[in-house]
């Protein structure tokens, strides 16, 4: 126990003796959060449209004005030439081309089916998909109006389904509320993940670890002394991050703070355990940077922070069973947005715990005092 205190004192002193790192470990996550959270959003506005109206009828103008009326679309170009429209798309001037064939007004008036041609710029697949979604929404309305107008009073007896939707746990579909818990989870661990691993490899490089290895210090003591400072710092960063999120972005916090901190504590043991495990199998700081980035990027992008995990292929979801970030992402969102209690998310918490214990166990096993 006393040995631990001496080792911890050493680690904290070394950490804060580096003036840059001593400050950066607090500043970086906060700045990243303030920049990333409002910047990452899926909402799109101002889908730039090009209309190729071969019809020029009352009906076709009505459709165009209905599109313009929605806040999502902006008709930037109108032309009669399909070539010109395609050219605009090539030059990235428009996101969506709508071609209205001649006879559109006449045929719809007669109640005949007509075809509209829509081309979306899918260089950014998710933007194209969303634009398409908005567009079909507008088309549905337009069609409904058409049907009602045609049927006249008879519409009263026509079956009509209106949808009323509510978005639970994030009523206003605020992307900030969606991103913030996830971003917090990553930022809090990423710093420790990089620094703890580098710190360990640095001791190997400089040979100081040999001096420790001839002493009676136990393996678990040395590993724990490397983890604890970054866990403490991570939890402080988390507290600052949450407070700032609530103050700056009006982030709701429905659940128990204690539960959130407990989960983050377990998560950080896992992240640091993995960092130290990697550091035991790498022998230079460069090697660690490579290996560390490999895991960091994979774990982060697969965690479900940007894309829903359910839509990933089955094998990817299997990989995510070993991804601590995926668990904390869910846990953070559930606690902060939904107010989940321990019973609700115990499965995720226990899985995370098992993972953390495993990583740390192997880190201690792999760290050899003798070779």
């Amino acid at each position: 126990m006393r040995t631990m205190l001496f080792l911890l004192r050493k680690e904290f002193k070394q950490l804060f003796r580096d003036r840059f790192i001593g400050k950066a470990i607090f500043a970086i996550p906060i700045v990243q959060m303030l920049v990333l959270v409002p910047a990452i959003t899926y909402e799109i506005r101002d889908v730039k449209m090009c209309i190729v109206d071969h019809d020029q009828s009352v009906e076709s103008r009505k459709l165009v004005s209905q599109l313009e009326g929605s806040s999502f679309f902006r008709v930037k170009y109108t032309t009669f030439s399909e070539r010109e429209a395609n050219d605009l798309m090539h030059r990235d001037k428009v996101d969506l081309i709508l071609q209205i064939p001649s006879g559109f007004g006449r045929e719809t008036g007669r109640g005949n089916p007509v075809r509209l041609m829509v081309t979306a710029n899918a260089i950014n697949a998710s933007r194209a998909q969303l634009a398409w979604g908005y567009f079909s929404g507008v088309m549905r309305d337009y069609q409904m109006n058409l049907v009602t107008a045609k049927a006249g009073t008879a519409s009263l007896t026509m079956p009509r389904i209106d949808l009323t939707s509510r978005h639970w746990y994030n009523e206003s579909l605020n992307y900030i509320y969606y991103m913030l818990p996830g971003v917090l989870g990553i930022l809090v661990a990423a710093i420790g993940f990089m620094l703890a691993g580098l710190n360990m490899v640095k001791e190997k490089e400089s040979g100081t670890i040999e001096q420790i290895n001839v002493t009676p210090v136990r393996k678990y003591q040395f590993i724990a002394a490397k983890m604890i400072p970054y866990i403490v710092i991570g939890l402080i960063d988390l507290a600052i991050g949450i407070s700032l999120g609530m103050l700056a972005f009006g982030m709701p916090f429905e659940g128990s703070a204690a539960l959130l901190f407990l989960s983050s504590f377990i998560f950080m043991i896992g992240a640091l355990g993995l960092a130290l495990l990697i550091s035991t199998i790498t022998s230079s700081q460069q090697q660690y940077m490579f290996a560390g980035f490999f895991f960091l990027i994979i774990f982060m992008l697969m965690s479900g922070i940007f894309t829903p995990m359910d839509s990933m292929p089955a094998w990817a979801q299997k990989i995510n069973l070993l991804n601590p970030v995926a668990y904390i992402m869910r846990i953070n969102r559930m606690i902060m947005l939904k107010g989940s209690t321990f019973a609700d998310i115990s499965r995720d918490i226990f899985s995370l715990l098992v993972l953390s214990v495993l990583f740390t166990f192997f880190a201690i096993r792999k760290y050899r005092k003798t070779v």
């Binding site: 205190l5 050493k10 070394q14 003798t370």
Partner: protein, 246 residues
């Protein structure tokens, strides 16, 4: 009959097909300064690392301070000090912080750490720089400090692996004075070196060549046997590198 504090029997250490230590057998007596000589690559460091428990032998028996190298490594570690050719105190900690860290790791009580620290700093004339980072000290000072820290917990044996590499002659002389002082207190010194003048200061020396011990006796006896005026001449006579390398 003097007591053997290190006893090595048929020690073999192989790295793949390369045999770094080829069937070493020797004893080190309690309280002596034992010089472990050899050309670069002769296998000295490999042997020292095994004796300190940093590396496992491929085969053979080793007892350090009465403890078995395979089963009682942690007990051995309480009883030995080690200083390697690579300087290995923490450069980003101060002199005092390094002393306190190692005092604490070896379980010395706080009061004793304070006493030892004051005495050590005084002896080294480093009281004024106790709050300076190690990184800024000259190499000679660092080496003396590293040695003092290695014996802070009064180990029975201290292993020094080329402790004076790259140090100026005056600092080397001072370093050896510290070694003598420590040995006079009953601590056994096991030192590897390739400075032959340093070998003259040892009670007994062994000379390694290509993984084998080719000579082991007092410097005076070796000079007599090989009819050489100095240990250096002895070394040149018997530890020549193999012809294939020439």
């Amino acid at each position: 009959m003097e007591e053997n504090i290190i006893s090595v029997r048929n020690l073999v250490r192989k790295f793949g097909s390369f045999t770094a230590n080829d069937n070493l057998s020797f004893d080190v007596r309690k309280g002596e300064i034992f010089g472990f000589l050899g050309a670069n690559g002769a296998g000295k460091t490999t042997a020292v690392r095994i004796l300190c428990g940093l590396s496992k032998p491929t085969s053979g028996e080793v007892k350090i301070a009465g403890f078995d190298i395979y089963r009682e490594t942690e007990k051995i570690k309480r009883n030995i000090g080690y200083m390697s050719q690579r300087f290995s105190l923490y450069e980003d900690l101060t002199v005092a912080e390094n002393i306190q860290l190692y005092g604490g790791i070896y379980g010395l009580p706080n009061r004793l750490i304070r006493e030892k620290q004051a005495e050590l700093l005084n002896r080294l004339g480093m009281t004024d720089v106790r709050n300076k980072l190690i990184a800024g000290l000259p190499l000679g000072w660092k080496q003396k400090l590293a040695f003092s820290v290695a014996i802070l917990h009064d180990p029975k044996i201290v292993f020094l692996d080329e402790p004076t590499g790259g140090v100026d002659p005056i600092a080397r002389r001072q370093f050896w004075e510290m070694i003598y002082e420590t040995a006079s207190g009953g601590t056994t010194i096991f030192v590897t070196t390739h400075y032959m003048d340093e070998a003259e200061y040892c009670d007994r020396i062994s000379i390694m060549s290509e993984g084998k011990i080719v000579a082991l006796d007092t410097p005076a006896a070796l000079k007599r046997i090989y009819q050489a005026p100095s240990v250096e001449e002895v070394f040149v006579k018997i530890a020549r590198p193999s012809k294939s390398l020439l």
